[in-house]
């Protein structure tokens, strides 16, 4: 009993349990088989017709409580219940868990090994595996990215489109899933001021829509001054930093002027949690196959 400083209490718990159960047994049986004291003298009446009859408990009820008591005694001999006594079966919650892991491995170990090692193409060809992968995605990722992986506007990226903020290679996606990603885009309100933000946002928006931008555009000047480091000279982005491309007209946080102004003024800090400890190799492999499948 690891939760107690000494074994002292374990003994007490056992004693209290056994003695009180025995006392309950004795009490039940003594009343059950007692001579009927109620019959002597006039029966007590509490309120008009309200009184107490002296019928004995039916026999089947007696057998019911007796068998429950016997069951309890056997249960407490077999399982850990009496303080620190661990029971004849040496059953424990941790042991139960190990057991069910072991039987899980026995049943599924082989097929899961083979999935973890298989090529993505071969997994993608098996509709049963793809269906299973979809459910893994739904369970682990769907809450944010949606069960169809189409994302949620302005919150969670669409994983079915061509644009990959952190890279679309299998290795890069795997890194995203296992280690998570933390995007850092600071706010520029203080540096640019309201007008500066507006001009820059207009410029970025035009860039995204593929419009021709003029060289003397004040937006372009600030872009080149502040933004190229991460988003690149032409706005192509940088997967090392998770800085998205600004020229593909795919917008994580919306494409309206207000959305873009807000991004520039206040910054964005998208966070994708790490799943390395929450998924095993098989599940990561299934997810990779599912995310990179050709639709």
């Amino acid at each position: 009993m690891a939760d107690m400083p000494t074994d002292f209490w374990g003994g007490w718990i056992a004693v209290i349990t056994v003695v009180s159960l025995a006392a309950l047994c004795w009490f039940v049986f003594s009343i059950y088989f007692a001579a009927n004291g109620q019959d002597e003298g006039e029966a007590q009446v509490w309120d008009e017709t309200l009184g107490e009859g002296s019928n004995p408990a039916p026999m089947w009820w007696f057998w019911l409580i007796l068998s429950l008591m016997v069951f309890s005694v056997i249960y407490l001999i077999l399982y850990p219940g009496l303080g620190s006594y661990s029971g004849v079966l040496k059953w424990s919650q941790g042991g139960r868990l190990d057991e069910s892991f072991a039987s899980y491995r026995e049943q599924f170990g082989e097929v899961r090994q083979s999935i973890a090692k298989a090529t993505l193409e071969s997994l993608q060809e098996d509709p049963a595996i793809m269906a299973s992968a979809r459910r893994v995605f739904d369970r682990k990722c769907g809450i944010c990215h949606g069960s169809d992986a189409r994302g949620q506007a302005s919150r969670f990226p669409d994983l079915m489109d061509e644009a990959w903020q952190w890279g679309g290679d299998v290795a890069q996606i795997e890194k995203t899933i296992r280690s998570g990603r933390q995007a850092v885009m600071v706010g520029w309100q203080a540096v640019l001021g309201d007008d500066g933000v507006k001009q820059l946002a207009r410029y970025v928006r035009e860039l995204g829509q593929g419009g021709q931008t003029k060289d003397d555009d004040p937006g372009k000047t600030s872009y080149q001054q502040f933004c190229v480091a991460c988003h690149g000279v032409t706005g192509e982005g940088n997967i090392m930093l998770g800085a998205p491309s600004l020229v593909d007209d795919v917008w994580l946080y919306g494409d309206s002027a207000e959305d873009i102004e807000q991004t520039i003024a206040l910054g964005r800090n998208g966070f994708m949690p790490a799943f390395n400890d929450r998924l095993d190799d098989t599940q990561v492999r299934m997810l990779l196959a599912w995310l990179t499948r050709i639709q």
Binding site: M1, D3, I13, T17, L24, F27, V28, I31, Y32, Q38, E42, A43, Q44, V45, W46, D47, E48, T49, L50, G51, E52, G53, S54, N55, P56, A57, P58, W61, L64, I65, L68, M69, F71, Y75, L76, Y79, P80, G81, L82, G83, S84, W91, S92, Q93, Q107, F108, V111, R112, I115, A128, I129, S132, R135, V136, D138, R139, G142, T282, Q283, M286
Partner: protein, 482 residues
């Protein structure tokens, strides 16, 4: 009612406070069940909260449980305890003014407490959500309740204490105790406090509280009601004195240990869980002892069932009591709990007890009690009979819908596909729930409409009348102490 052998020297019984508590209980019943229906609807159409925080599921659900248990349940228990303790002791209430204080203070706590829950103020402990100022007030009211109750018993004119009073007494002592211990907290502001307990200790304590609130309030308290009103209504003595003694002590003993069956396979020690399994199983025996005792009491008076709606309600409630107390021990077995925990099965179990047992026995008791309090016939027996069928249908439908939903959830959560992955995601399973939830909503509406019929019927019975004045009768029987 027993004008013939009244004791003219005695004071009148104090029944006006009983009438008030019964009426208030009815109002809370309708409000609380309406809240239940609303949250049931939100589970079908989640947007019904209209983006208003106070209409959200989380807040209204808490309002529902608090109003039905503490508004409806406790007001009814206080009223019936005051009524029956006077009659079984042949003395008027001890400190009747204090009884009025208890009645009114309790209603104020509920009203303000309900509003605080709507405002999102909660301590986060289930069935003990109200914050610390309320907790102090609640403790005070229960202590006063105890003073009145035990004070009345102390002055009794009949030496042996009738069995209903043991159960009411157990209710008062245990609820006061578990409420105080579980609510111990360090206040931070007027509406925020931090529990003195943390982690596994907090969990064990919370369910020691939660389970014994079910045990001594929703079960023990209502058993007190049963032991007085069922034999009164059947006009026969309770069937077996011995069964009631055994039932009381075995029940009190084993309930106290059983709380951790709410925490199977969690981080609490294994021996605590095992003892909970054992004690929950033993609990079947006293529970069924009481059921047999009640049914056998009526067994000589079956013909009354045809004409007397009040008795019908009480007998049916015993059947649901038997059902819930059979199901409970089964769910307490670990391998069953693995399926039932985290599913609507629990919700079905709760309401087979709450609707089938608590609500039905209270309805039956009120149909018996209200006409007696005002000295009139029930306004409409026909309406009461209709209510009986609505209540039965509502309860059955509710419980069946939740069993269907719960068992399918329990099995679907656990099912694996050929690669060892869960076969159904949470969303898949929730997407298959609306039919069950719709059925439960319909069940709730049926049950609620029955309760509204009863409200109409009883208010008609009361309206314009005053609580009649009754004196204790002269004491008969062996144990008379005066």
């Amino acid at each position: 009612m027993s004008a013939k052998n009244e004791n003219p020297k005695s004071e009148f019984y104090h029944d006006r406070v009983v009438t008030a508590l019964v009426m208030l209980a009815i109002v809370w019943a309708v409000l609380g069940m309406a809240a239940g229906v609303y949250v049931a609807a939100e589970l079908v159409w989640p947007t019904l909260d209209f983006g208003e925080p106070w209409l959200s599921f989380g807040r209204l659900r808490t309002v529902h449980t608090n109003v039905v248990i503490f508004g409806f349940g406790v007001s009814a228990l206080m009223g019936t305890a005051f009524y029956s303790v006077q009659r079984t002791c042949h003395v008027p209430l001890f400190l009747p003014r204090l009884a009025w204080f208890v009645c009114i203070a309790w209603q104020i706590i509920l009203l303000l407490g309900g509003l605080s829950l709507l405002a999102g103020i909660t301590s986060g402990k289930e069935y003990a959500e109200l914050e610390w100022p309320f907790d102090i007030a609640i403790a005070l009211v229960w202590v006063c309740f105890g003073i009145i109750f035990f004070g009345t018993i102390a002055q009794r004119k009949i030496k042996p204490i009738y069995v209903s009073n043991w159960f009411y007494g157990g209710l008062i002592i245990v609820i006061t105790m578990i409420h105080v211990v579980n609510s111990l907290a360090m206040p931070a502001t007027l509406f925020k406090s931090y529990s003195l307990f943390a982690g596994a200790q907090d969990a064990i304590l919370q369910w020691w509280y939660g389970h014994n609130a079910v045990g001594f309030l929703l079960t023990g308290g209502f058993l007190g009601m049963m032991y007085y009103f069922l034999p009164k209504q059947a006009e026969r003595p309770i069937w077996s004195y011995r069964l009631s003694i055994i039932a009381f002590w075995a029940f009190t003993y084993s309930y106290i240990w059983a709380g951790p069956h709410h925490l199977h396979y969690s981080a609490i020690p294994e021996w605590v869980q095992s003892l909970a399994v054992v004690m929950s199983l033993i609990l079947l025996a006293p529970s069924w002892a009481t059921m047999i005792n009640g049914i056998m009491t009526v067994s000589g008076a079956w013909q009354k069932l045809r004409t007397d709606p009040a008795l019908k309600f009480i007998v049916l409630s015993l059947a649901f009591y038997g059902l819930a107390t059979f199901e409970g021990p089964m769910m307490a077995i670990k391998s069953v709990n693995v399926v039932s925990h985290f599913t609507d099965w629990t919700i079905g179990h709760v309401h087979s007890g709450a609707l089938g047992w608590n609500a039905l026995i209270t309805f039956g008791t009120f149909y018996f009690l209200v006409p007696r309090l005002v000295g009139r016939e029930l306004y409409s027996v026909r309406l009461a009979n209709i209510h009986f069928w609505l209540a039965l249908a509502g309860t059955m439908l509710y419980v069946l819908a939740m069993w269907g939903a719960g068992v399918s959830q329990g099995l679907l959560w656990l099912s694996l596909d050929e690669f060892g992955e869960l076969r159904y995601s949470f969303r898949d399973i929730m997407a298959s729930m609306p039919p069950y939830y719709l059925l439960r909503l319909v069940a709730g509406l049926i049950f609620l409409s029955g309760a509204i019929l009863m409200t109409f019927n009883l208010f008609k019975t009361i309206s314009g009348a005053r609580t009649i004045q009754v004196r204790p009768p002269a004491v008969r029987g062996a144990g008379a102490s005066v």
